[in-house]
Amino acid sequence: MRTAVPRWLVPLVAGIIVVALPLVLPGFFVILLTEIAIVGLFATAFNLLMGFGGMVSFGHAAYFALGAYAAALLVKRAQVPMLLALPAAPLVAAAGALVFGFFIVRLTRTYFAMLSLAFAQIVFTVIFKWTSLTGGDNGLLNVWPPEPLKSPRAYYYFTIVIVGLSLLALHAVVHSPFGYALCAVRENPRRARFIGVNVRRHQLLAFVLSGFFSGLAGGLFAFFNGSVFPDFAYFTKSFEPLVVALLGGVQSFFGPLAGAVGFKILETYIARQWPVYWPLFLGAAVIAVIVLLPKGFVGLVEGRAWRRRLVVHK
């Protein structure tokens, strides 16, 4: 029974664990936890679209990469300090999401997914081909954070604070009137329009917000990784938040976060041992979930029960 636990207890315990873990775990796990936090933010931002807006983007790597490259380029090419470069990441990504989203939200479902994929390939191509600016295939190296944040532990806390604030903001968005209107649009766009919701504007705003936080995740990842590569915008990267959200559950706000924990732990152990087989494993896992466990993430769209729960369960 959920009701037996006071509402404040779960966040408190989670908060203590998050703060205390790096103090007891070896450095390797601190790095892993940092990555989990970043991927969790990316997937949660993605799920604002998929879970709450009913819009599946196949090109979210674009906004992740825009953020990562915006921050890295400012540091590398304009010698902007990291703390000033990082805020540019979500802003540039949001600007990109605004421009692309303007076209993408005009389409629905299959066409929506495919146009988002196409725009992401544009971003990938531009990054890949514009060698003089982006370094092309070689990427941009040595984008480490400055001294006080350089140690993995320090960067972990820095990341946790930013990711935590972002999750709070996203949570507030989901439970705002805007968030409910977005769910209404997902459930039945026509009815939503009849009661006066501007469907496209809501979808576009959700798209821009999602791009904003994806870009922030990209910016955080750039300094975490110390380098950025065109791969960040490649379509396999777009697959990542999708898998994470699907595995964790698109039903709930925190599902993608849980998915990120499972996904990253799996990736760490499988991808390190058999890097070549990792995409195979990833693809096969997704296919298996879709084919064998149709109720695993009860019909993203076919089952309606979870949607009701999603709206009622605050």
Partner: protein, 304 residues
């Protein structure tokens, strides 16, 4: 006008433009083979096969293997060209029977995610089988050189591809509009339930259509193999371009794929002259415009 000629000196060079048009047509030909298969599969099964670029890649890699395996005779190339697409058709058949058949009644987004996952699976399998290094397929000796067209050198191989284009298009047209099988396909794109109710084995038709679409993608890959580096990234490149073709032409439309493949081929060919680095951006710009003006493509029907 003077500024235009200063910017683009080739614009007064008639022969060069004609050669560029021809090379655009041959690029359009490869695109047509891939996108018509994708469009055909969508028309009948309502599945957007995102792994279609991967099937194209498998076609090219099979070509590499077959050329290496067959004796070095003039006919080896043509035999490989016959066998490689058949191999891809078999791969497509396996995918359809083992996976897609299980999810036809599911949410379209789940189907889309599954074919997306297939890209990863096929990509990794290709990496395991053929290794990470780029491969190349030599052009058959008779077609290795170039001929002069309007005084400009033009690769003979492309000329052959160009000659094949109308053959394939007419052949497909005959299949779609003059055979019973083609009639069934066209009927399935209009109303699958009714077709099943009339006693047609729709499930078998799905498998056949998927295999045929895969065969076309494989043929595209096999034909393109001697013109490009056969590499692991080619699935994504082809997928995005074929996808642009299909969206511009309209999903499920044969005529749409043809017109739009040639259009996109030309756009790529001239885009490289005008904006060498960002010719692909032109493509997506065109697609965006088409989607805004006609969301279901030039020849498409509205989504159900």
């Amino acid at each position: 006008m003077e500024t235009i000629t200063a910017l683009f000196p080739w614009i007064t060079n008639g022969p060069l433009i004609l050669v560029q048009v021809m090379s655009g047509l041959s690029v359009g030909m490869f695109l047509f083979l891939v996108s018509v298969g994708m469009s055909l599969i969508f028309g009948v099964t309502r599945i957007v096969n995102l792994a279609h670029g991967s099937l194209y890649m498998v076609g090219a890699y099979l070509m590499v293997t077959l050329i290496g395996f067959l004796p070095q005779r003039p006919w080896a190339f043509w035999l490989a060209l016959l066998l490689a697409p058949l191999g891809v058709a078999v791969v497509g058949g396996v995918i359809e029977v083992a996976l897609l058949r299980l999810i036809y009644r599911r949410d379209p987004l789940m189907q889309l995610i599954l074919t997306f996952a297939l890209i990863l699976v096929i990509g990794t399998l290709v990496l395991i089988v053929w290794g990470p290094d780029n491969k190349s397929v030599p052009r058959p000796e008779a077609l290795a050189g170039s001929v002069r067209v309007f005084g400009q050198p033009f690769p003979t191989y492309y000329l052959v591809v160009l000659a094949l284009a109308p053959l394939v298009a007419v052949g497909l047209w005959l299949i779609f509009y003059r055979t019973r099988w083609g009639m069934l396909i066209r009927a399935a794109t209009v109303d699958r339930e009714m077709l099943g109710a009339l006693g047609v084995d729709v499930s078998r038709l799905y498998t056949e259509v998927f295999m045929f679409g895969s065969w076309l993608a494989g043929l595209g890959g096999a034909l393109a193999a001697p013109t490009v580096a056969v590499a692991l990234g080619m699935d994504g490149d082809v997928l995005t371009t074929a996808f642009v073709v299909v969206v511009i032409g309209g999903l499920g439309s044969f005529a749409g794929s043809f017109v739009s493949a040639l259009l996109v081929g030309e756009l790529q060919s001239f885009g490289i002259l005008i904006f060498p680095a960002i010719s692909i951006v032109l493509l997506f710009a065109l697609m965006a415009v088409v989607l805004i003006v006609r969301p279901c493509g030039l020849f498409g029907r509205p989504e159900e």
